[in-house]
Symmetry: C2
Subunit: 125 residues, 2 copies
């Protein structure tokens, strides 16, 4: 509907050219759910953030920022921003301890990471 339609003769007609009717496909997610999923996925879809999350999830206890900086190889500011984004995506929780902040992966994050490991494993469905 917000299609440009500036093309040659391309209007929104049902084109019954053959056996398949070219109609619009559908899915079952609401717009909000889609947006939420994309938020989550795009939070994960960045080297720094993804590796940060893996580092956090890979530790039994929680992890302080200072442990992440050397492993990630970006500036302190970049690490902090990465963690912030993960936090607002609900992928990590944080806890203050004096001057430090400790981060831990949320159950949601754990589950997604497990799914990714699973998929990487390659077993078919």
């Amino acid at each position: 509907m917000n299609r440009q339609a500036s093309n040659t003769g391309e209007t929104e007609q049902v084109q019954t050219d053959g056996d398949r009717v070219c109609c619009s496909a559908e899915h079952s997610l609401s717009e909000d759910e889609l947006a939420a999923d994309v938020q989550l996925l795009s939070a994960l879809g960045n080297d720094t953030r993804y590796e940060a999350l893996r580092l956090i999830a890979g530790t039994d206890s929680d992890v302080c920022v200072c442990e992440l900086e050397p492993a990630l190889g970006v500036s302190q500011s970049a690490v902090s921003q990465a963690l912030s984004r993960l936090y607002s995506a609900g992928l990590v929780s944080r806890r203050k301890d004096g001057r430090w902040r400790y981060y831990a992966a949320t159950p949601q994050a754990e589950r997604l990471l497990d799914a990714l490991d699973d998929v990487r494993g390659g077993a078919d469905a």
Copy 2:
């Protein structure tokens, strides 16, 4: 709920196991695995591509490009580029049939989408 709403009420338990040395955290993924995961995730982390994949996965049969265009509300070129990216991320397969191309979700994609549904469901771990 580990949601960000509680910005103000951050837990501040002063846990003084002061022997914490600030070393570098670790995880178990190779650099290649990390990169591959990020590729996958960033392929998913975009409105157009994610919705396209949902549309494709939500159909029993496979889906032709022309069915996606009206649903996605972007240009034909953008749809094609989105599908290309999904394809090279291994999230969809494609099949030629005359002038048409039909796309289907790969098992890998199905599993990831299931995991996302699962996580969205909210059941804890």
